[in-house]
């Protein structure tokens, strides 16, 4: 008899899509010809919100709630490293859908739908946004394509038999909703603090399997629909002056900047 089933009256399989992005510490540079951002030789990492998603899935597994955690990434061959990071954090296996195209969120959602249909997870946990494109779309789009409910910007999740409670970070504070399973959850910053993978776990992760797929395997056309006309530097803000005292500050705000009366 399955030991986990003795402890929990329900268990779930979890899919976690992870994206390889420029490390959040990197100050990016726009290419002089304005065709995009210069990514040559910059440090790449797992998107921080995806790390939070992997952490949450692994915690559910450690608690006996999740039976299997699968990490999937859409991207170039190097996205393997991102999947290995997820495996080192505790995911069981990976799927790499390899493409060198910059895939738009809708096409990523269509690919993920293909993975969901093949794997039948009960829960998909995504990051709320990738810190490069800043789109904040993929999870919601996947939910739409599957006809599943969505719990976005989660700061707490409580899975139960057949449903999941999700507390969401919204503009006015916090909102709690309940979703039927299967469901989509996207992570916000306060959901958890992701672990660092230990060396033994990094070694172990090297032996975990990663399936290699292509967008064609899922019959999805990843040709971009949006045309990037150009990518430019934002207007630069010049540093102003230092003031010596509060009195000088208040005086300048009143009489120079005119923002205080």
């Amino acid at each position: 008899m399955n030991l986990k089933l003795q402890i929990k009256d329900f268990t779930m399989k979890i899919l976690v899509p992870v994206k390889r992005v420029v490390d959040y510490n990197v100050k990016i540079r726009v290419k002089p010809d304005q065709t995009g951002v210069d990514l040559a030789n910059v440090k790449m990492s797992m998107n921080p919100f995806c790390e939070i998603a992997v952490e949450e899935a692994v915690r559910l597994q450690e608690a006996g709630t999740a039976t299997e955690v699968i990490a999937v990434s859409v991207g170039p061959a190097q996205a393997q490293e991102t999947i290995r990071t997820a495996l080192a954090m505790g995911a069981d296996r990976g799927i790499l859908i390899q493409t060198d195209v910059e895939v738009e969120p809708l096409a990523i959602a269509k690919l993920l739908k293909g993975v969901v249909e093949a794997e039948s997870p009960d829960l998909v946990i995504l990051g709320k946004q990738a810190i490069d494109g800043d789109n904040n779309q993929t999870g919601q789009m996947l939910a739409a394509l599957l006809g599943w409910p969505q719990g976005t910007f989660a700061s707490e999740i409580k899975p139960e038999a057949g449903n999941i409670g999700v507390t969401r970070e919204i503009d006015g504070g916090l909102q709690t909703i309940k979703l039927n399973l299967p469901a989509i959850v996207t992570t916000d910053l306060r959901l958890n603090e992701p672990r660092y993978a230990s060396l033994p776990n990094i070694m172990k992760a090297k032996k975990k399997p990663i399936d290699e797929k292509t967008p064609e395997d899922y019959g999805v056309d990843v040709t971009p629909q949006l045309e990037i006309v150009k990518v430019a530097e934002p207007p630069v803000r010049e540093a102003g002056v230092k003031v010596e005292t509060i009195q000088e500050l208040v005086d300048k705000l009143k009489n120079e900047a005119g923002v205080l009366s």
């Binding site: 006015g172 504070g173 909703i177 910053l189």
Partner: protein, 308 residues
């Protein structure tokens, strides 16, 4: 073909962010229709009809839309999407939640957080925490996008739009509202306040935020925070300003005990005047501040308070 704007409201009045999204919608040059979906939302509908530039208000009054949950709202919008060449909403947490669901159901790409309308098909949007500005051209049959409210002026009053009742598409019941824990405050809303004073890790505790609140009350300002201050539990999550929190662009932004990480700057660097108070003269926040004061905040803020 017309432009549809999806309104954010509290069943009484239309949110400021929506009025700003309407300005972006007007720039597309088509008739603007405003969808007000809610429960007992007659007052919000009346408010909507007065907005300048709105040709028609579409009212969907049903319990299904009480909390603007994405699942029923997306079904409603998809049922009425024919006849619209653009669907627009403000990039609030509500808009960010429901809009991609609508886009995917329509099989259309979405543009998030646009900051400028170049022409009827071309838009600007920030990427990489605002460190690059992308100009994107859309050729899809329907333009689906969210608008960064701080980048547009609010549409004025003076309109007299007609009102049309919509048939509710109901709720499939796959999601359910349980409850809310809203931050109660008499201060202005963070994203529309004229003055914002924010505290960071340097504040050391939630209790110490009272010294910022006292200044805020004298200035009629909203209080914000860095991620570090929210993560440490000093203040609630909805105070967070930045790439992954709220974007603000007030007349005056005062950063207190905030170092100025790129993720924080992404949320406030379009403020008209920036003041930084930090004890470290090397702090990156001084690179964007119009007025910098190198000082211990526990002396400087009470001094500021008594100088006002």
């Amino acid at each position: 073909m017309n432009t549809l704007v999806i309104a954010e409201h509290d069943n009484q009045t239309i949110a400021d962010a929506t009025k700003k999204a309407i300005s972006a919608a007007i720039a597309l040059g088509k008739d603007v229709h405003l969808l007000v979906a809610g429960e007992n939302c007659a007052d919000a509908v009346a408010d909507a009809a007065k907005i300048d530039g709105v040709a028609k208000v579409l009212k969907a009054d049903d319990a299904a839309f009480a909390k603007l949950l994405a699942e029923p709202l997306a079904d409603l919008v998809v049922s009425m999407a024919d006849g619209y060449s653009a669907i627009i909403t403000a990039a609030t947490t509500n808009g960010k939640n429901f809009m991609p669901r609508i886009a995917a159901l329509l099989d259309m790409p979405q543009l998030s957080d646009i900051t400028a309308v170049v022409d009827a098909n071309t838009f600007e949007r920030p990427i990489y925490a605002g460190n690059a500005i992308q100009t994107v051209k859309v050729s899809s049959a329907t333009i689906v996008m969210t608008v960064r409210a701080t980048a547009f002026p609010a549409a004025g009053e003076g309109g007299s739009a007609s009102v049309e009742d919509l048939t509710s598409t109901g709720d499939k019941g796959i999601s359910e509202y349980v409850g809310e824990e809203l931050t109660v405050s008499d201060r202005p809303e963070l994203t529309s306040a004229k003055i914002v004073i924010s505290g960071g890790r340097g504040m050391q505790s939630g209790d110490n935020f009272t010294i910022l609140e006292s200044v805020a009350d004298k200035l009629g300002a909203a209080v914000g925070a860095s991620r570090a201050a929210v993560d440490a539990g000093f203040v609630p999550n909805d105070y967070q300003v930045g790439q992954t929190g709220k974007v603000v662009a007030p007349e005056l932004y005062i950063a207190v005990g905030i170092s100025g990480a790129i993720q924080h700057l992404a949320g406030m660097k379009d403020s008209k005047v920036i003041v930084a108070i930090n004890k470290d003269e090397e702090a990156p926040i001084f690179q964007v501040a119009d007025y910098g004061l190198v000082a211990d905040l526990f002396n400087a803020v009470p001094e500021l308070d008594s100088a006002l």
